[in-house]
Amino acid sequence: MRHTLSIIVADQPGELSRIVGLFSARGFNIETISVGETLDPKWSRVTVVTRGDDRTIQQIVKQCERLARVREVHDVTTRPHIEREMALITVAACAGIQRQEVLTLVGVFRAKVVDISHTHLIVEASGNKDKVDTFIELLRPIGITDITRTGHIAINRLAATAETISEEEALDLAALL
């Protein structure tokens, strides 16, 4: 299953490579990764999209938490959340039907044209993974010449009140006997 992890780590040199190194050393996969400052500039948020069964995800979380400069790790996916990715897409589209088609799609997907030449357009799109993927798929037949994607960022929804039960508490005597 796909999970989005939010890792709060001290903004110090080498800390990102510690996290990335841990993923590769332990054979965890990274689908996307993005890093940015948090409210407090001393801390960065690393958002990693990864795949794995529950046990693997739990291991990833615990291994990341073991790092001395990691303050906390959340699996954003376990609660209602908002996920966004941005893509900049260069499309080969000369004036005429092709360009019209691109502009229609831009309208439908609430994307933006950010650059234009006689032969090409650069389109900015954002949304969750599915939306960006679909947008790209629809542009592909027209002629995409380049794509750059940010990777995901995610945040939990406001309404989501945390009610996590600790591992120990969740286990009842019944589970043992």
Binding site: Q59, K62, R66, R71, E72, L176, L177
Partner: protein
Amino acid sequence: MIAETKIKTAQKTAGLAELLEPQPTGAEILIEALLYEGVDTIFGYPGGAVLHIYDELWRARERISHYLVRHEQGAVHMAEGYARVSGKVGVVLVTSGPGATNAVTGIANAYMDSTPIVVITGQVPKHLIGTDAFQEVDTVGITRPCVKHNYLVRDVRDLAAVVREAFHLARTGRPGPVVIDIPKDVTAARTSYSRLDHVSFPFSAAGTEPNTRAIQNAVAAMLKSSRPVLYVGGGIASSGSEMELLRFAEALEIPVTPTLMGLGGFPSGHTLSLGMLGMHGTYAANMAVAESDLLIALGVRFDDRVTGKLATFAPNAKVIHVDIDPANIGKNVTPSLAITADAKVALQEFLAVVEKLPAKDLKKGAAQKEPWWEQIRDWQKSQPLRFSGSSDHIKPQTVIRELHRLTEGKAVITTDVGQHQMWVAQFYPFTRTRQLITSGGLGTMGFGVPAAIGAQMAMRDQLVVAVVGDGGFQMTNQELATAVQYNLPVKIVVMNNGYLGMVRQWQEMFYDRTYSEVDISVAPDFVKLAEAYGAAGFRARKPSELPAALSAALLHPGVAVIDVVVSKEENVFPIVPAGANARDMIVQ
């Protein structure tokens, strides 16, 4: 007006004082910070990038003893031997580049075996970092996967805090190695120094109080279980909980099986002890785990050398896992009940619950386990650890038995990895923690000799014996010079079979006897080698020579090497083949 003059004079005086007594350098601060951590022993090897530190170390030689090793790997193994025997943090000082890379094996070893050490490495000056400078490597990058944490100190003002935190990290939670990489110019830069008595960085530190309900549930399950086994590891020694373990096991009459790292955590001769479990564990221990209905894992990490094939490991058992490292829980085996805690704290809580139990409950619990104990006694009787004797060749197992007899079971033993290590684990019954210092997780050949030297440093009056193979001995025997130089009278028993024995055994058993590159019979004369280093050399070739030669070596007041020529193709039994389970155990 007068006040102002006073201030100006004061400022002038302060400036003058500073001129007369400049602020300390990074090297001085490092030494002060180490002293503040209680360091009195450093294992090291000098080089260009650490010259400032060595200069300062010379001035501090009355307060910190530096031991000059012959190879940086040796320094780290010594620090580990020192740390594991004493419970203190071992300290290593090496230079940049090759100094640091030579230390990596030792660091990885300490990481796998959770040993608290701090390794200080020199680095090229800051302005040269990244230029492929002479003796430059990315030490922080190279050591990153095998340390608890590491630092590149770019500013001398951070140095004291880094040292403080490094020691804190090394010794707390699950202990482990920490590396501090210091560029040469940082050790020369000056700043003010004051002792720090707190760690400035916020931690998500382990060591939380165990959940009361979990503790109660665990004890209830233990009482109700009819086939429980306590599976205990290195966490018993790290947490110093051998007394609690003994009381607890006795109170509930639960059989105990230690891992290699757990040997000595529970007295080997005790009626509740099943001996070591795992690949070369006893038949009874492995069968007990295989048949158990409740496995209580304390301070262990379910290593593959213990579990074999995970899917068939302890197939009928519910698992209670207690470990200080949350990441160990559920890593290999998903427990039914997880308690993230220091083994000592957990055992104390268990005991508190047990002590409140009515006597009849305890009695009932014990009665329920009677058939289990009968079964275990059967296993022990039918398949004890055994080997066939010989009158022509010295059997390696005999060497360990004889060593045990001559040392009255009291020596500190260090080993490398391989057959000799397993025979030590099987035939030297350990009775206390910190008595066996072995390379468990990483399986490092060459660990035994330097580890013994480090152990001897920590315990000057203790008999310390390194049991090594002829292969491993040749990997670090240069440290004989260190032992001789500092008069550290370690005894080294070389189990010499002319083979890389464990590899040969596997080739014999699983590769159709194709002995590919395991013959190391072309070796130096170990007696002469010892003598060349200024140590004493002894030899035993025949069984009749063993007792006298071994005893002479052990009684020798200085460093002694005894070359024991053992039977060439002896195998370690029992063996659970890699990736198999206890039922596939080959006993003979």
